[in-house]
């Protein structure tokens, strides 16, 4: 599968194998109903499903923040150690640290020298176009800037698996579109594996090369489909026929909440 991807996707991505994953919670019961899928190194996969379907639960399992009741979840980065980056629904910035120090945090936790961590953070902030705001505190930033800081923080460890949990859902549309395009460019440049959780069909189709559609809770896989769009994604793509056809294809598989009402 990797050979079908464009040259930007390569080398440092991790493979994810998810076999028969089940997870139940007290009160809500079964949330993930024996989910099985595989992600190849360097793939950009969107996990699409309605709110409360268990997408975030699956992402937390992949991040190692929770454990499955049943099944096997393996992450393999080949010769490299597995390194995960996580972008939460909210920016989750530390309010007493400025943008630079929020970005260096993962490296500080891993025992890096602060000067080396700063150099790396400045590089990541340039990548997300926040270099001029390094000294600002979170309360001085717009929603989009906070989320870009969160992305820079996730990238600073050079993860081979980047997990994003509906990061742009709370942003206005122009900012969301700009960040989607930026994320796509970052992925093309760094080539890590990306698993992106969203409930937006248009976002999933614009960003990903493959979309996995989950059913309402308990989550099962309804569709696992490749997105046949050019690797370089820019604003004009949103009005193209191919894009609309891909959205229609995915949309047909997404359950209509009105049908169950």
């Amino acid at each position: 599968m990797n050979s079908d991807l464009h040259p930007g996707q390569r080398k440092s991505g991790a493979a994810v194998v998810c076999e028969g994953i089940a997870r139940a919670f007290t009160g809500t019961g079964l949330v993930l109903d024996h989910i099985t899928f595989q992600i190849q190194p360097g793939e950009f996969v969107a996990l699409l499903g309605p709110s409360g379907s268990g997408k975030s639960s699956l992402l937390r399992l992949t991040a190692g923040l929770d454990r499955a009741d049943e099944g096997r979840l393996a992450i393999d980065a080949g010769q490299e150690a597995v390194s995960r980056g996580f972008v939460f629904q909210e920016p989750t910035l530390i309010p007493w640290r400025n943008v630079l120090r929020n970005t260096t945090l993962p490296l500080e936790l891993q025992g890096w020298n602060i000067d080396r961590a700063r150099t790396r953070a400045e590089e990541e902030l340039r990548r997300v176009r926040l270099a001029d705001f390094a000294a600002r505190y979170p309360h001085e930033l717009s929603g989009g800037m906070k989320m870009r800081t969160s992305v820079a923080r996730a990238l600073i460890t050079r993860p081979n698996l980047l997990l994003l949990d509906e990061p742009f859902a709370a942003l206005d549309e122009p900012t969301r579109h700009a960040l989607q395009q930026q994320l796509r460019e970052i992925w093309a440049a760094l080539g890590m594996t990306v698993l992106f959780v969203t409930h937006s069909i248009s976002e999933a189709v614009f960003l990903a090369d493959r979309v996995i559609v989950l059913s309402p809770r308990p989550a099962r896989i309804l569709l696992d489909s490749a997105i046949n769009l050019p690797p370089a994604r820019a604003a004009p793509l949103r009005t193209s026929l191919n894009y609309i056809q891909e959205m229609s294809h995915i949309s047909a598989a997404v359950p209509n909440p009105e049908a169950n009402a």
């Binding site: 991040a63 979170p138 309360h139």
Partner: protein, 257 residues
């Protein structure tokens, strides 16, 4: 701050004080209120001036006891709260005793303190520490337990150690609550010191007690006024440190334009 703005900020709390003092001055001078119950404000001021050396020495003794007591309660209370925050079992086992300890009136256990520590400053310091420790424990514990779960997840994602989570996340996150508890505790430390001085001797508490027996109600009021000012000074000091520590990031200390 411009002079006009400074006057505008001082005037609202000053005006009711001046009016009340004026009313009491007239009420006492006219004989409507007997001076052995409430002294005329001018008598209190006379006492403040005449007994200034004795009052200043006593105020320093009380302030130093309250400060040492507050430092003790802050250190012990914070460590205790950190210990309780690390384990649900420890919290269930010990927190009820902290609450129980708070409900025991200090005036009832002050004689015990004299038996344990003797007359003098150690008893006063112990009294100040005991009275002021609970708000520190309760606020610090609340702050440590209120850390945003997503931030705890973030630290877990990068395999942060317990020590890193405590020092780099939980304690800074709890600072607003810790300062809030410290503000309450600093006022209580002065109260605890005065109560301790009633029994253990020395300081403003001793002056209040002896002036009461001598029917020097003006002196009692002078000592009470100074002890209230000590509380204000301590709370002001906590506010200053809080503004330094939280000013750059926390809403409570952020300056609005």
């Amino acid at each position: 701050m411009k002079p006009n703005a400074r006057i505008a900020s001082i005037l609202p709390p000053l005006l009711p004080l001046l009016v009340t003092m004026g009313v009491f001055e007239i009420a006492v001078r006219s004989g409507w209120v007997p001076s052995y119950l409430i002294p005329a404000p001018t008598e209190v001021f006379r006492s403040l001036i005449d007994d200034r050396v004795e009052l200043a020495t006593a105020a320093w003794t009380t302030l130093s006891s309250a400060l040492v007591g507050l430092l003790l309660s802050f250190s012990a209370g914070t460590l205790f709260a950190i210990a309780l925050s690390t384990s649900d079992l420890a919290r269930r086992a010990f927190y009820p005793y902290a609450v129980f300890f708070q409900t025991v009136p200090i005036i009832a256990i002050a004689p015990l303190l004299v038996i344990w520590f003797g007359f003098g400053q150690p008893t006063v310091i112990a009294s100040a520490a005991i009275v002021s420790v609970f708000p520190i424990i309760a606020s610090t514990l609340l702050g440590l337990k209120s850390t945003e779960p997503a931030l705890v997840d973030l630290f877990a994602l990068y395999s942060a150690t317990t020590r890193q989570i405590l020092y780099m996340l939980k304690i800074p996150f709890a600072l607003p609550q810790i300062f809030s508890g410290l503000r309450i505790a600093s006022g209580l430390a002065v109260v605890g010191a005065i109560v301790g001085e009633f029994i253990g001797g020395g300081g403003l508490g001793s002056i209040v007690d002896s002036a009461r027996t001598q029917q020097r109600i003006d002196r009692v009021f002078a000592a009470v006024l100074i002890s209230a000012l000590l509380g204000v000074v301590l709370v002001g000091a906590v506010n200053f440190v809080s503004a330094l520590a939280l000013g750059s990031w926390h809403t409570s200390e952020r300056k609005t334009s």
